[in-house]
């Protein structure tokens, strides 16, 4: 039985395809890069796709990976064939259950997109640190190196686990394999069925817990038998290697692809061998082939079954001639004698060499190397260097490859000119924006070639760390042979730049081969474009004799109503120039692919795409490359001159895409980075920016409040401070009695604005003559850039006002506070960041932030830069992201430390009271610090204390001086999304609420897991469509606020800035001032809602007016005063849920796809709202008598 269906899929889909066919229960939880496996399974089940047993697998989303493992354990115990998918921290959370599942000899396969474990930093990218952390759990571990193997070994694992009864971890490299699109031969359902032994399935079911055949498992055992029982399973482990090989052999007999536990490739008489597993073998294999062609004798031993490690099979797979072995580990175990695979190899050689190879053959020498951490590139050149190192007389016993280690000097320097790329492989690199569809088009090109020609095709895609206007780089190969080149293309025959502005910042022609074709999207025609290029680009084109083509793709897109989607236009040009297919055939296939991709979007969309394809080639022109570079402009520096040394050395390199070249010494040893770096980036991504019309402005401050990027600001300043201003800098008198003789300015940061338009949408001031003209208006950036750059620079140096003079409880007053969160890489129009910015304005100069993993940790802490910044005094938020699941506890820890430090400081202060003055000591210890004035006074006291301590010779003085700042009130914030607060971190959050400690919990509630792509959480509202809830969320949103209210002693507020900004500000101030736990649930619109992000802030009004998101504040202090603590801040609903919901695609798409079900769920959602409103109205009348338990803890 052989199948001959070729598909182009990525590794995740390849593995999930088998998992969905071979399982009955799939417990899932999103985590990068494994999420797509769960999403695909959920989608397939919701489409009714059946497994090989004839039923649709039950896919259930859990609250955490721990939950998924628990559910899987239970389902397995009750006899269901069960699987899950995960990575990284998720796999760590599964460890306790994994021990249990193995201990009970339960057949299952967990599919893992192997990803880095967070240490000094989080990384979403791939290495083996996660899977190596479960090697001790008793699970078999099978490694897939390529996309084809991700499918094939997934099936072999499922077949083997049933026979062996040992559970399997099937893993492949995150991103490199999980996200690489490659042409594979797909197994049919019958193929899969032929590998699964029904008898073994029945045996598994027969072992299930069943009251008709009751047994007891999970007993507690004692010293008398636990040990023996643990040893009783040994024969099962002993049998695994044989079983896996049998299944591999059976697979080969059926489908022709032969796998082995340890597979050696290379010279039969090799003297040097590299041992490794995972995608890196692709590069190593190519290097070995190239070296062998040069007459060397090398080979690669690919490890597939890593656990149980069959030492004899390993040694038997090695050529007898091997004298030098390098074991490459894609993980790091600090403090060990070597990384895990290295240690296993050494042990295997010691234990089995003589037995297998004979006493007379000397055992090879073994080196251990680390490579590829966090998806660090591993190329044939690096592999070749490792082979070289094996030749050295005194090689490095432990080394690293792929980096420059100038600290411990472990790294090997490789020859960058070494390449194994064959001439008959088409290699193309495309630089685009996330929004222009470049990646989608590249994936389509791979599919077109892979699925409709005999050629093989591979696509790999690199994204930057921004959510708005991110740069994407697509690496595409076409070859007559299967493509296992598991590394980026650095020698391309075709380079396309889909965004002309990239040429000013990115050295993209670096990857162009001499004589390559360069395609540029530019508004300038063939006769003008040359003069628009930076000099470096011109010179490189001349030096490399590039063939240069230009197209105005945006013009074609505009004329064919494609907006900014230039994907099909550039794709058509690529096929026209690349000569992979005859031009007409290529166009036919592109159209066929468009029909496949966009067919379900309707005729209008198809027609526009077809029109764009047809119009493309007419606009494509070859440009004659002159003999000399003539440009007077140069490529821009990644950061402006100035700034800190760190910024110039490190941040600048990261921004320029040269982070790979930074040596070890350049990086902090403990993950500590300076803040205030987003401001050096100047991405200048907006096409239009808001321009202030001061004549209309009413100085309400709303524009600055809602700006997600702190790119529009309000400042008041003494009239006298205005000197040397740029000619066109605009000021108007401050409206208000609070700041007499003050001027004010609303100023845009033109290079930091994303052009989202939210500020203009909320602006309430309209011209009396032309209603559409407001006090701020979006206008073309280039018309204003020079002027506004100068104005913004001047604006920044104007003095900040004394915080104590401002009415910070008002919108207008709060927006005069300096934002200490600015220019983040969040989506344009983000609904979360305005809250963080407000928090930073109100409390940032004394805030510690514990941030749960998610969107807010990515735009908050993803390199190269951070939006958290400092004021002129150097004060600003101190920020850390611990994990996803532990954030409440982590934040509590911050509070405990602060409190303890203050306790110690108070003790020391009392010790030196006589020397520094009793009055000062009393004032410091009893300061209320209830407002900005009191805090300023306290800062002055602390400064005075420091002065006096300097003259104090008591031994406590020095200790106190170090920590005296803690007497100024610290504001501890625990920040995260609803995925954290409602699901994975709920237990911790719940506990923290009960501790009574003074922490402020800010939940940026989008109602989905935004960062991983919109999976449903327990905050997802009923009837909303989300991933893992494709049929509309069936259950009601968890009322987290009321759960917190039930404790009585927690301050709780539900807010929506776009609906009631003053209430939001009030809630922040009340929460922070409350000396106990506070919880703020902040309505955060999100691109996953399917809304217009420009009007999303205004749309929040409808969320509130429909009762979907009632506003309230619960303040225990009122209860202590005998007042009613629960205050409803919004009015009775005056529009229906449906009226609100039909404005958002997350709801309205359900009405399109399943009108009857939508009607049913909408009715239930309305009932939820009615019930909730009724409940809240009653709550608003409830009196409570809450005792102040914090009296005791107050100092």
């Amino acid at each position: 039985m052989t199948s001959q269906k070729f598909v182009t899929v990525d590794g995740n889909e390849a593995a999930a395809y088998v998992a969905h066919q071979t399982n009955e229960v799939i417990a899932i939880y999103p985590i990068t890069p494994a999420s797509p496996m769960g999403e695909l399974s959920d989608a397939w089940s919701s489409q009714g796709r059946k497994n090989i047993f004839g039923v649709v697998p039950d896919v259930i989303e859990m609250q955490s990976e721990g939950g998924a493992a628990g559910a899987a354990h239970g389902a397995l115990q009750a006899g269901a064939l069960t699987t899950t998918f995960t990575a990284s921290q998720g796999l760590l959370l599964m460890i306790p259950n994994m021990y249990k599942i193995a201990g009970e000899l339960t057949p299952t396969v967990f599919h893992i997109s192997a990803r880095t474990i967070a240490t000094h930093a989080l990384s979403i990218f791939g290495d083996h640190s996660d899977v190596m952390a479960v090697r001790q759990t008793g699970w078999a571990m099978l490694a897939s190196n390529y996309v084809q193997e991700a499918q094939d070994l997934a099936l072999i694992a499922h077949a083997a686990t049933l026979k062996a009864r040992i559970p399997f971890v099937h893993f492949f490299d995150g991103f490199r394999t999980s996200h690489e699109v490659n042409k594979i031969e797909q197994l049919s359902a019958d193929d899969i069925r032929s590998m699964i032994d029904e008898r073994l399935v029945r045996e598994h079911r027969a072992r299930a817990m069943d009251p008709d055949r009751p047994v007891l498992r999970g007993s507690a055992q004692n010293p008398d038998v636990f040990f023996q029982a643990r040893e009783a399973a040994n024969p099962f482990y002993d049998a695994v290697p044989r079983i896996v090989q049998e299944e591999m052999d059976k697979f080969a007999a059926l489908f022709g692809r032969q796998y082995r536990l340890f597979e050696y490739v290379g010279a039969a008489d090799a003297d040097r061998v590299v041992v490794m597993m995972g995608s890196g073998v692709g590069a190593a294999e190519e290097a070995a082939e190239a070296l062998n062609r040069r007459g060397e004798k090398v080979g690669v031993l690919k490890v597939r079954l890593y656990r149980p490690f069959d030492g004899e099979a390993f040694v038997a797979a090695l050529p007898k001639s091997a004298r030098q072995i390098a074991v490459l580990d894609r993980t790091k175990e600090p403090g060990s004698l070597g990384e895990p695979l290295y240690q296993d190899v050494v042990t295997a050689l010691v234990q089995s060499w003589a037995g297998v190879q004979g006493d007379r053959v000397a055992m090879p020498r073994v080196l251990g190397g680390r490579y590829g951490l966090s998806s660090k590139e591993f190329t044939p050149a690096m592999a070749a260097r490792v082979f070289d190192e094996l030749k050295a007389d005194r090689p490095k016993r432990q080394f690293t490859i792929g980096i420059i280690d100038d600290v411990t000097h472990l790294s090997l320097k490789w020859d960058e000119e070494f390449s194994t790329e064959p001439a008959d492989v088409t290699r193309a690199v495309f630089y685009g924006l996330g929004s222009d569809g470049t990646v989608g088009a590249s994936k389509n090109s791979v599919k077109i070639i892979g699925e409709s020609t005999p050629l093989y095709a591979q696509g790999y895609f690199v994204y930057d760390s921004k959510k708005a206007c991110s740069v994407t780089v697509s690496h595409v190969r076409f070859s007559p042979r299967p493509i296992n080149s598991t590394y980026l293309i650095d020698r391309a025959g075709f380079v396309a730049c889909h965004q002309p502005q990239f040429l000013d910042r990115i050295d993209m022609l670096r990857v162009a081969n001499p004589g390559a074709t360069f395609l540029l999207n530019s508004a300038y025609g063939p006769d003008e474009v040359w003069d628009q290029l930076p000099r470096e680009v011109q010179q490189e084109m001349i030096d490399k004799r590039l063939k240069f083509f230009v197209i105005d793709a945006y013009k074609v897109a505009h004329e064919t109503k494609m907006g900014v989607r230039i994907n099909t236009i550039m794709q058509t040009c690529f096929f026209a120039l690349a000569n992979i297919l005859p031009r007409d055939e290529a166009i036919d296939r592109i159209k066929g692919s468009i029909r496949k991709t966009y067919g379900r979007r309707g005729e209008a969309v198809l027609e526009r795409n077809f029109a764009a394809v047809d119009a493309s080639l007419a606009g494509l022109h070859e440009v004659t490359v002159p003999k000399a570079a003539t440009s007077k402009t140069n490529r821009l520096p990644p950061v402006a001159p100035g700034g800190s040394d760190f910024v110039q050395r490190v941040t600048s390199a990261l921004l320029a895409g040269r982070g790979d070249l930074l040596p070890v010494s350049a990086l902090p040893v403990d993950g500590t980075f300076p803040t205030g770096t987003a401001k050096v980036e100047k991405r200048s991504i907006a096409h239009e920016i808001p321009i202030w019309d001061e004549k209309i402005c009413i100085q309400c401050g709303l524009c600055a409040l809602v700006c997600p990027h702190a790119a529009i600001r309000s400042k008041a300043y003494p009239a006298a401070s205005l000197s040397g201003k740029p000619k066109e800098f605009v000021s108007v008198p401050w409206k208000g009695d609070d700041l007499p003789n003050h001027l004010m300015t609303i100023q845009v940061a033109p290079d930091d604005c994303t052009g989202c338009g939210v500020c203009v949408d909320v602006c309430p001031a309209k011209s009396k003559e032309v209603v559409k003209h407001k006090a701020i208006n979006m206008e073309p950036k280039l018309d204003h850039l020079d002027r506004e750059q100068a104005n913004f620079a001047y604006f920044l140096q104007l003095p900040e006002l004394d915080r104590s003079r401002l009415k910070v409880e008002t919108v207008k007053g709060s927006q005069l506070l300096e934002p200490l969160f600015e220019f983040s890489g969040a989506c344009a129009g983000c609904g979360e960041t305005p809250y963080l910015k407000l928090m930073s304005q109100l409390f940032g100069d004394r805030a510690l932030i514990g941030n749960a993993t998610g969107c807010s940790s990515i735009y908050g802490g993803n390199l190269p830069t951070t939006p958290y910044t400092t004021n002129a005094d150097g004060r600003g938020p101190a920020w850390n992201n611990s994990l996803f699941e532990d954030n409440a506890e982590f934040g509590l820890g911050l509070r405990l430390a602060v409190d303890q430090k203050r306790e110690y400081a108070a003790y020391l202060l009392r010790q030196v009271a006589a020397q520094v003055g009793e009055t000062l000591v009393d004032e410091i210890l009893t300061a209320s610090q209830h407002d900005e004035d009191a805090i300023r006074t306290q800062r002055q006291r602390v400064a005075e204390l420091r002065k006096r301590l300097a003259d104090c010779d008591a031994c406590e003085a020095e200790k106190l001086a170090q920590i005296a700042d803690v007497f100024v009130k610290r504001s501890v914030w625990i920040v995260g999304g609803d995925g954290w607060a409602f699901d994975i971190g709920f237990g911790g959050l719940d506990h923290v609420l009960t501790t009574g400690r003074d922490v402020n919990i800010l939940v940026l509630d989008t109602g989905v897991y935004s960062n991983t792509g919109g999976q449903a959480s327990k905050s997802t509202p009923r009837s909303a469509v989300a991933k893992f809830a494709a049929a509309g969320k069936a259950s009601r949103r968890k009322d987290l606020g009321m759960l917190a209210v039930s404790y009585g002693n927690a301050y709780v507020a539900q807010i929506a800035m776009g609906s009631h900004p003053a209430q939001s500000i009030r809630a922040f101030i009340e929460a922070e001032s409350y000396r106990g736990p506070s919880l703020i649930l902040a309505y955060s619109h999100c691109i996953a809602h399917g809304i217009n992000m420009t009007t999303a802030m205004t749309h929040q009004k409808d969320a509130v007016q429909s009762g979907f998101w009632p506003l309230y504040r619960y303040d225990p202090r009122l209860a202590r005063k005998g007042e009613r603590p629960f205050h409803l801040d919004s009015r009775k609903p005056k529009m229906t849920f449906e009226q609100f919901a039909m404005q958002e695609a997350r709801f309205s798409m359900l009405a399109r796809s399943d009108p009857e079900h939508a009607k049913h769920l909408f009715a239930l959602a309305q009932a939820d709202i009615d019930d909730q409103w009724h409940y809240y109205e009653q709550m608003a009348g409830v009196e409570r008598a809450i005792r102040d338990d914090f009296e005791e803890v107050e100092v």
Binding site: P36, V439, K467, Y598, G602, R1152
Partner: protein, 339 residues
């Protein structure tokens, strides 16, 4: 005495002249459609299929899926791909087919296109889905001062001719009253291939929201006085185009209005607003009232009644040709003049 209420419209024999015009809350719902048939409605025009809306929705859904897609490594998409979501005219055509199954009265498809290709494509689809006739709901608001009235009329004519070539079912054209020479234009529409005219379209006039200072769409139901406009123009056009079917809409609320429109020459009267206010069953009341009036006034049939007060047949055609203001003024002076 039994009265023959049947009438002919677009070559079809209807059981009476009371039909339901395009209205999503009436003919857009199957159960209402059944109730309307039970109440005696002789024909139903389905709500309009708006090409522009279909195109807009298709493009917006495509944008929803494209937006921020493949932009960020952790979230390559943000929305689950829904297999069954409807795009294009699928919903409309499904409803048309279901309506044909649900009721036995003629079901008329209604179309508002925005491109020539769209008019033709959707007209064919509506025909294929089983519509008994097609009503073209042509709506065009000229804003360009360089466009002449002839240009505007030519757009209508071209569209009608193009659709006529592509479908064989009867074709009615629904237009507004604001044409400089309606008789000439009506004649051109018939020459272009229309079998009937539906007089008149009531445009959705946007209102200004004084709080937001924004135009907002605001559906205002018709009132009974609006029937005067079709009464006049049907009375005039009946004689100009004797072979053409005329349907009267706008302000059809009471028995009196229906009878007047029939007297003027309408073959059928269409209503929606009054049925939204009083419910589908009110049509039965109106039908009884019409029958009673005819009995009391000793009419044998609707055919007898139809057009008996057309411009040619009425006693004082000059009244039709004057503005209301003149008529009122004349009446006032003649009654009170004391020489």
């Amino acid at each position: 005495m039994s009265v023959d209420l049947s009438t002919k419209y677009l070559g079809m024999t209807l059981r009476n002249p009371l039909a339901v015009s395009a209205c999503s809350s009436l003919t857009g719902e199957l159960d209402k459609l059944r109730r309307l048939e039970d109440a005696g409605a002789s024909m139903a025009v389905l709500p309009s299929l708006f090409e522009e809306q279909i195109e807009h929705e298709e493009v917006e859904i495509a944008r929803l899926y494209d937006f921020q897609t493949e932009s960020f490594a952790e979230s390559l998409t943000h929305f689950p791909e829904l297999q069954a979501h409807s795009t294009g005219p699928t919903d409309y055509l499904d409803h048309l087919r279901a309506a044909k199954q649900a009721v036995s009265i003629p079901v008329i498809g209604s179309l508002n296109g925005s491109s020539e290709g769209g008019w033709i494509r959707y007209a064919k689809l509506i025909e294929e889905a089983g519509a008994d006739a097609l009503e073209l709901n042509i709506y065009f608001v000229p804003t360009n001062p360089l466009m002449t009235s002839l240009d505007v009329e030519q757009r209508y004519i071209d569209l009608v001719a193009a659709v006529r070539k592509s479908v064989s079912i009867p074709l009615a054209v629904k237009i507004g009253p604001n044409f400089t020479s309606l008789p000439h234009f009506a004649q051109r529409l018939i020459e272009a291939g229309a079998n009937g005219l539906v007089l008149f379209n009531r445009y959705l006039e946007a209102d200004i929201d004084l709080d937001q200072l924004q135009f907002k769409p605001d559906l205002v139901l018709s009132n009974r006085h609006e029937a005067r406009v079709p009464i006049r123009w049907i009375a005039i056009l009946r004689d100009v185009l004797p072979q053409t079917s005329f349907a009267a809409t706008s302000g059809v609320h009471r028995m009196q209005g229906i009878v007047k429109l029939l007297l003027a020459g309408a073959d059928v009267t269409m209503m929606a607003s009054i049925l939204l206010i009083k419910g589908p069953e009110f049509l039965a009341t109106l039908l009884d009232d019409v029958r009673t009036w005819m009995e009391e006034n000793e009419y044998d049939s609707v055919e007898q009644l139809k057009g008996s007060m057309s411009r040619r047949n009425c006693p004082d055609p000059s009244a039709l040709e004057r503005a209301n203001y003149m008529q009122a003024l004349t009446t006032y002076t003649s009654d009170h003049y004391q020489p």
